[in-house]
């Protein structure tokens, strides 16, 4: 038996492309955020409202990741923002090489901010860097307040947590969601995370989130 020491990162190919994307975005001075959540938490609705609210202030482009269809890309294009679709044909997350291929299809020079809407999944996308400046995790109140405890990795790695669909709480819909418990659980893992409670339906809480985006775009120069 011959034993050979390798000591090599298994996902080094993905990391190389992630570094390439990151270099490209840094040269262009563009902010890029990788949005991750379970299916149905409201990522696309949040993006559409964010684009509309920030119209005239910052220009946003979107890379949409889905297993199938371009339904979400069409929803983004309805806001007149440029959007490109990646269909993963079964894969549960985006990879950096897929992002690098579509980045050039966006009118990068005209944009300040690029959102990557990852495939709806709270586990797998957190393991694959895409070259983004930060991750934005979305948790909707309908999913329950135990998710940070059950899926800690994505909450530990994210720059921003958006707690969405808070209009359901105000409307008295019966959901098991204690906002303070979520905030406390997330802050245990991630002291620096920015947390915004929002409703993409009513626009509640968007001022804080949009201000954070404007500030982050300006910080890049």
């Amino acid at each position: 038996m011959l034993k050979v020491n390798i000591g090599r990162k298994i996902l080094s190919a993905n990391e190389e492309y992630a570094r390439k994307n990151s270099r490209f975005l840094a040269e262009q001075k563009k902010l890029c955020l990788n949005m991750i959540s379970s299916p149905g938490s409201g990522k696309t609705t949040i993006l559409a409202r964010t684009i509309t609210e920030l119209k005239g202030e910052i220009k946003i482009g979107v890379i949409e990741g889905d297993i199938k269809t371009d339904i979400d890309t069409e929803r983004i294009r309805a806001t007149e923002a440029p959007a490109v679709q990646i269909n993963t044909d079964g894969a549960c997350h985006l990879s950096a090489v897929q992002v690098s291929k579509v980045l050039e299809r966006l009118p990068i020079e005209d944009l300040n901010l690029i959102f990557i809407e990852n495939v709806g999944n709270l586990v797998c996308p957190s393991s694959f860097e895409l070259g983004e400046n930060g991750k934005v995790v979305v948790l909707s109140v309908a999913e329950g307040d135990d998710k940070p405890a059950k899926y800690p990795a994505i909450f530990a790695k994210s720059k921003v947590l958006l707690i969405n669909k808070i209009d359901m709480l105000a409307a008295g819909v019966q959901v098991d969601f204690d906002i303070e418990r979520v905030k406390a659980d997330v802050r245990k893992l991630n002291k620096d995370i920015e947390i915004f409670t929002i409703s993409a339906k009513t626009g509640e809480g968007f001022a804080g989130w949009c201000n954070w985006l404007v500030k982050s775009v300006k910080a890049l120069g």
Partner: protein, 113 residues
């Protein structure tokens, strides 16, 4: 099921080393951090499937899971954190997570004549 992509990357790495050694791999040791969310059964199954008909067919995988470590901002203690109740075991203080371990291909064992 991101294990499929991990399995494909692993297959490429082991196959290229097998070509270099001109030998058949029988076992590979890999390690991963808790944030890599690797399920052993899913990864072994995915590797078995992608390895069929290749030099890696039938190769065994041994997976080591490394804990997440943190440094206490108060007393500098470095400790393994329990995600369900993360606090510094020494003083209960504030902490920062240390970078999680990447997925690594550590060693490969090859069959020799």
């Amino acid at each position: 099921m991101h294990e499929t992509m991990v399995a494909q990357s692993l297959l490429a790495a082991v196959s290229s080393e097998a070509a270099k050694q001109n030998a058949t791999p029988v076992c590979a040791q890999i390690s991963c951090g808790a944030f890599d969310a690797i399920n052993d059964e899913a990864l072994c199954f995915a590797f078995e499937v992608v390895g069929r008909g290749t030099v890696c067919e039938g190769m065994k995988l041994e997976i080591e899971h490394k804990p997440i470590r943190a440094r206490c901002k108060n007393c500098e203690e470095i400790f393994e954190i329990e995600l369900s109740s993360p606090t510094c075991p020494k003083c209960g203080g504030d902490f920062e997570l240390l970078p999680s371990e990447p997925l690594m291909l550590e060693t490969i064992e090859f069959e020799t004549e």
